[in-house]
Amino acid sequence: MAKSATSFSRPAVASFDRLHTFHGGLKLPGHRELSASRPIISAGVPAILVLPLQQHIGAPAECLVQPGDTVHKGQLIARQVGTISAAVHASSSGTVTAIEDRPVPHPSGLQAPCIIIETDGLDRYQDSQSNALDYTRMEADEICDHIRRAGIVGLGGAGFPTQAKLGCGKHKINLLLINAVECEPYITCDNRLIQERAAEVIEGARVLQHAVQADNCIIAIEDDMTVAEQALHTALAASNATGIKVTRVPEIYPSGGERQLIKVLTGREVPSQGFPSDIGIICQNVGTTAAVYNAVIKQQPLLSRIVTVTGDGVVQPQNIETLIGTPVSHLVAAAGGYTHDVERLLIGGPMMGYTVPVDNIPVTKTLNCILAVTREEMPAPPPAQPCIRCGKCTDVCPADLLPQQLYWYARSSNQDAAQDYGLFDCIECGCCAYVCPSHIPLVQYYRHAKSEIWLAEKQTKASDIARQRHEAHLNRLERIKQERAERMAKKKQALSSDGGSSDKKKAAIEAALERVKQKKEQAEMMPRNVDNLTSEQQQLIDAVDKRRQQKDESE
């Protein structure tokens, strides 16, 4: 991999006729027949929409609505924060009932902040549909802005904000790659999308090609997607697009991985820790491409996606066009409900997906597949046995790593060594665990090690901030102390140096002291022998007191 970094200056391959191979990979049973042959249906508008503020990689969006607000379809309800972030829109009209933590599709099963909308069933937009825009007159920045405002993220599963990935003008892009290689078993949403909406995909690809100014564009599909290929060719012929090519790649898992697909089509490797744009390539998922068409030409934000609901655990496996935020349970019901022998519910495919304990989670932008499996279909893995160092995992690793070494280091929490062995080049495809004769859950070790490293990085950042704040705190205390000392010094100086005024002050103090003394003496001057007075005497005294009092008052 290190070598490929130096191949940066190599002249770009002009034609991409010859296919290459990547290291390792597996031939897996497809299970695609379950859902591939049925047309996409619509899930309709559910009663409740749950829209997580974070459905992408990067910073969570910032909520713009309050409970009780009425929202229309397509309204911006949470805005993007920073560059790596994505906006969230109301996917149907209704009333915001709450902004609270709800279970979301995540392997942790934890809750995250969501906007909850009670739909009104009208599914109405605020204003009438605007006319289609002509993207050829737009600058790259303008197209990126449309994509950003539509809240589009990579719909293939990673969820990287699309406008950030395009970079728009920051890199010289030679090749735009539209990835429709659904290598994971069971998943057919991209296949169905092309079959039914090939024209949108072609238009989206042209918009993207225009935005990144790429000379070449390849739409990569899998070997067995013949119907989709036909649809693409028909749409291509109808659109008179130039520079777009459809290529079939062999069905080897994980040929749909970004790096693997680039290797297959161009023979070049993306540098370790680098991006495809480093070698002049941008790769976009085909679903994202269709969303770009909607965003730029039809000016519609990302409100829905196609989800494959499949597995032997659902009655009628099929692809369903789903509003973002629709509960998974609603989708399962749309697919005929669970069968009686359903065992587990997975989000994503069988290789890279994760099990979720509940189905009251919402469909997010990145959720491409709901897989309900039976016990026979996907039995629980047998207990792990010791590694026998057979090396099978190394043979199948598509990232050309040494999974066995990574396993030892991850298991012994030797994170530095794991990183030296390319832990972060692991794409978690699961090939190593699939072939492991000892049934070691290898990928889980890598995921554990990665998240430990990320957590440690976060903690280091937090302690750096704490150090800065503590230093600032100490500096502040020191400054206050110094300022006080200066003030005191100034006062003292003023007292000692300023002769005339100090005498006046001294006189005033002495006068005050004199007054206090007098008062004290007065208080002590109590009248004596006043016990047995005659009435006349008493009258006299009273009169004197009265006079005195009057005199005091007049003063």
């Binding site: 974070q54 979301v104 995540h106 392997p107 942790s108 934890l110 995250a112 207990p383 792990a384 046995q385 010791p386 590694c387 030892w408 298991r411 070691i440 859950p441 889980q444 070790y445 995921r447 554990h448 990665k450 998240s451 430990e452 957590l455 976060k458 903690q459 302690s463 750096d464 901030i465 704490a466 150090r467 704040r469 503590h470 600032a472 705190h473 100490l474 502040r476």
Partner: protein, 186 residues
């Protein structure tokens, strides 16, 4: 003979000049050991090590006055890192200084707070905001969990709460280590 000596002498002088120049030109400031130690400490600033913060403790360690096992918030991981850095043997945490526990933060019960500002003065990272006779509150993201604000509070309205697990700080669980017939590997 003489020419050889002169030639070699000139050569030596030239090379000496080049070396001297590059020693100045390409000088790399090495991290002072105090900074390296300080970077390993958790920066809780709790003072459980008996020093007035992490940096003074780091200075004491660098001077050989303090042991490496006096930091309860850092726990075993910090002791191991310090031992690696300083070339010492790791040792268990000294119980005199407290026990290691998961990171916590404090919250102020705002109904009870009388606005005395004592906690604000105690906070080493200025993570409490408020003013005299006004309600105080803790900036959760900046709180290091040092608990120094708790003793000064006259109405005991500051409580320790564990950090709630979020998706952001969640860690994939490590697979169970109970492997059938496992043998010890290096």
């Amino acid at each position: 003979m003489l020419s050889a000596i002169i030639a070699l002498g000139v050569l030596a002088a030239l090379i000496g000049l080049v070396l001297g120049y590059s020693a100045i030109r390409f000088h790399v400031d090495s991290d002072p050991v105090v900074d390296q130690i300080d970077a390993l400490l958790p920066q809780t600033q709790c003072g459980q090590c008996t020093y007035a913060g992490c940096r003074p403790y780091a200075e004491a360690m660098a001077a050989g006055e303090a042991d490496i096992n006096q930091c309860p918030p850092g726990g075993e991981a910090t002791i191991q890192a310090l031992a690696d850095l300083l070339g010492l043997d790791p040792k268990p945490l000294n119980p005199e200084h407290g026990e290691h526990s998961e990171k916590t933060v404090v919250v102020i019960d705002e109904q009870v707070c009388i606005g005395c500002t004592l906690c604000i003065q105690a906070c080493p990272v200025d993570a409490i905001v408020g003013a005299a006779k006004q309600m105080h509150t803790v900036v959760r993201n900046e709180c290091t969990g040092c608990d120094l604000c708790i003793p000064p509070c006259p109405v005991e309205c500051i409580h320790v709460v564990p950090l709630t697990p979020t998706i952001g700080n969640w860690v994939w669980p490590k697979p169970s280590e109970q492997v059938l017939g496992d043998v010890q590997h290096g």
